[in-house]
């Protein structure tokens, strides 16, 4: 197994908005009149090309996520982007990290879409679940105070829909479904891997430890990511098992160029935009009432005050670098800092390392990705340079021949009663006249119109 996995991650921002100091927020209140769909079309297609390229470059996976009513990440439906990636890539895992499951009226929609993606992709889907950030709730009828409970119930429902034979009835507090029976079911068993992105709250860590899911820390200073990872390791130990490194993904935008100076020259404005403009969010949008329990809110605000943590929108570029929110530099610098980072926090995967960020032009994003793939990734791989997924057996046959060889005939052949036939006929043979009428043989008789 490789030392580290690398996931190309895209937020798909729309950067053609007024500068940060002229707006209240990049979320909720900044009017969509600033969104030019023609420019949006060009961006979406560049962004999708970048993620598609990640397979050729040799990344371990690509990842997209869900946000609403903002310019920082314009994927209100990440499953749509994932569907395109499924069609334009062949073997690389695709992470939807994640769907904001409390926001949806019927969580089965997510269960169905992920199952569709998993089936069509041949079992390449990683299914992340999130509550959505506080801002998400302003364009939604779901009260922020219901978010945690709806998340838990939607999760239970989706997993049961994926794993239990239907139909069954779901009688929850938030959802009632008389007949759960999703078709298709996913390929991966018992279900696609589940990742939980989070900000390190105890409730989230306990949930992950209980289910042995994969954790993904959102943008954070290294010390805070370490704190959260240590917390998760502790929760796992409390449940009697040692958490494998593959459970821990850090999210650190990383940019590499020929020299340190060149890397900063290229990345500074764009990575700063992600935090200073993209995440310009007033407190009342970030924490709508009830989004956190009063106890969590007290702990969280208390910890921010105590640690003198600045809002992300106010972090200077030097602070972003110093606290390892981001890593920027020459191949040597990036390799060293990345190695040190992963050893410090105990990460098994990096999200957003060598990925496009902010208003970075397409050429620069591609340059970063290619250089990252050639200069950085091999240092954390075994000698063959392969991503782990190419060493493992595929989740599903990759061709019709392989399907026939490995799985044989379907458990139920397609068959039905056809007028004129004496019994059930098999559809795969239904076009043969002698199948309809066994008395016929040899050259087909002249077809006659049906009497019935």
């Amino acid at each position: 197994m490789n030392k580290l996995r690398f996931y190309a991650f895209h937020l798909m921002p729309y950067p053609y908005i007024p500068p940060a100091d002229e707006i209240q927020s990049t979320w909720v209140s900044l009017s969509n009149k600033h969104y030019d769909p023609h420019r949006g079309r060009a961006l979406y297609n560049e962004y999708i090309d970048q993620l598609v390229a990640a397979e050729q470059f040799g990344y371990d996976g690509v990842a997209v996520n869900e946000h609403h009513a903002n310019f920082y990440g314009t994927m209100p439906s990440p499953n749509i982007i994932a569907a395109m990636l499924v069609q334009r890539t062949r073997h690389i895992p695709i992470g939807v990290i994640g769907n904001a499951i409390p926001l949806h009226g019927n969580p089965l929609r997510v269960a169905e879409e992920i199952a569709m993606l998993d089936v069509i992709s041949g079992g390449r889907i990683i299914s992340g679940f999130v509550r959505g950030i506080g801002c998400e709730y302003f364009n939604n009828p779901v009260a922020p105070g219901d978010s945690t409970d709806r998340f838990a119930e939607a999760h239970d429902l989706i997993v049961k829909a994926w794993t239990d034979d239907g139909p069954f009835t779901w009688q929850g507090e938030h959802f009632y479904i008389p007949n759960v029976n999703i078709i298709p079911r996913p390929i991966q068993t018992p279900h696609p891997p589940i990742w939980i992105p989070g900000q390190g709250s105890l409730e989230t860590l306990q949930f992950i430890a209980k289910h042995r899911y994969t954790y993904m820390m959102v943008f954070a200073p290294m010390w805070f990511t370490k704190l959260a990872f240590d917390g998760l390791r502790e929760e796992c130990a409390r449940l009697g098992y040692e958490a494998p490194k593959s459970m821990f993904n850090a999210c650190v935008p990383t940019y590499v160029a020929e020299t340190d100076a060149q890397a900063h020259r290229e990345a500074k404005a764009h990575l700063s935009w992600v935090f200073n403009t993209g995440l310009k969010i007033p407190d009342q949008f970030f924490f709508p009432p009830g989004y956190m329990t009063t106890k969590s809110f007290r702990n969280f605000i208390g910890a921010l005050k105590k640690g003198h943590v600045k809002p992300q929108a106010e972090l200077s570029y030097d602070e972003l670098l110093r606290d390892r929110y981001i890593i920027v530099g020459s191949p040597e610098t990036v390799k060293n800092q990345l190695g040190e980072y992963c050893d410090t926090v105990g990460a098994g995967g990096m999200i957003g390392a060598g990925s496009p960020f902010g208003p970075m032009p397409n050429w620069m994003a591609m340059k970063n990705m290619q250089m990252y793939a050639e200069e950085i990734i091999p240092a954390f791989r075994e000698a063959d340079g392969l991503p782990d997924y190419l060493r493992a057996a595929p989740a599903s046959p990759r061709s019709h021949a392989e399907l026939a060889a490995r799985r044989g005939a379907p458990a139920e052949s397609a068959r039905s009663l056809v007028t004129g036939a004496t019994g059930l006929i098999e559809h795969r043979l239904a076009h043969l006249p002698e199948v309809i009428d066994p008395t016929m043989s040899g050259p087909a008789a002249t077809p006659t119109a049906s009497a019935g």
Binding site: P141, Q284, P288, P289, G290
Partner: protein, 276 residues
């Protein structure tokens, strides 16, 4: 099920002015805080989404001539928020139970802002319990052409500015930004308000149900309400069968704090008239 397990425990910081210790009455397993003083017509006031834990000057004025009772809704003041409280129907039934336990039969009911919505819901469910109904800058009806501002999108400074027309009075009621515990408590109270009001911000059924309210009703509006359109109080006055509308000069959304004397006089006169 154990109701107590479902209750989010809250530490209750004391406001710097007008704080008094409440009494408690247990209803459906939660201790409901209330303050009660005076003799006369039993009159209950349901508070808005803030300014709790206090015996404000208006209350003292009303208690001089009334048996005045001010309960604190679940999630507000010293009353914890149980998980089962999902909407105004739960609140209405909780209040009905509370009033019974406090020995109250027929009452005068006053509601302010969010409490105005709660009072209107109570009146629609239990019209025969009321001698009179007073709504002060209430919310809860749909104004199709004027949805108003989203209170939950407002930062603290803008919220205060929109609440008060009288900025001199506003200065006396600004929360202490440095007080950590108070900040957390206000978040908790807003969380309770969001539980009741996040979506939708109205109950369409009220317009029909309020036809049942035959007691005299008084709707009090601010002169110029910066938070809730004046059309809201107009609409309540039009929907209630026996209502009249009074606007208190010099006030915005907070007549209770901005002009307590003038408001108390209007409330007491109406109370006396309705009690006859």
């Amino acid at each position: 099920m154990s109701y107590i397990d479902a209750v989010e425990k809250i530490d209750v910081p004391k406001p710097p002015k007008y704080h008094t210790e409440p009494a408690f009455e247990e209803v459906f397993g939660i201790p409901v805080a209330y303050r009660r003083q005076g003799t006369g017509e039993a009159t209950v006031l349901l508070h808005g989404a803030g300014f709790t834990r206090m015996w404000i000057p208006l209350y003292a004025m009303l208690a001089e001539r009334l048996d005045f009772i001010a309960p604190e809704a679940p999630g507000f003041g010293a009353t914890p928020l149980p998980k089962w409280l999902r909407g105004f129907d739960d609140l209405t039934i909780l209040y009905d139970e509370l009033f019974t336990r406090l020995g109250l039969d027929r009452i005068h009911l006053i509601g302010f802002s969010m409490g105005g919505w709660a009072a209107a819901e109570f009146a629609a469910f239990y019209p025969r319990r009321l001698k009179s109904l007073t709504l002060i800058t209430p919310v809860g009806l749909r104004l199709p052409d004027e949805p108003g501002v989203d209170i939950f999108q407002l930062g603290p400074a803008e919220l205060m500015d929109r609440l008060f027309k009288d900025k001199t009075v506003m200065q006396q009621w600004l929360p202490d930004a440095e007080n950590f515990d108070e900040g957390i408590h206000l978040y908790a109270e807003f969380s309770a308000a969001a539980r009741l009001m996040w979506a939708p911000r109205y109950n369409l059924a009220l317009e029909r149900r309020l036809q049942r309210v035959r007691c005299p009703a008084l709707v009090i509006g601010g002169e110029e309400d910066g938070l809730v359109p004046n059309a809201m109080s107009d609409k309540y006055a039009a929907v209630l069968p026996d209502a009249r509308l009074v606007r208190i000069p010099g006030t915005g959304h907070e007549p209770c704090l901005e002009r307590p004397r003038e408001l108390a006089d209007v409330l007491l006169d109406f109370n006396e008239e309705a009690a006859r």
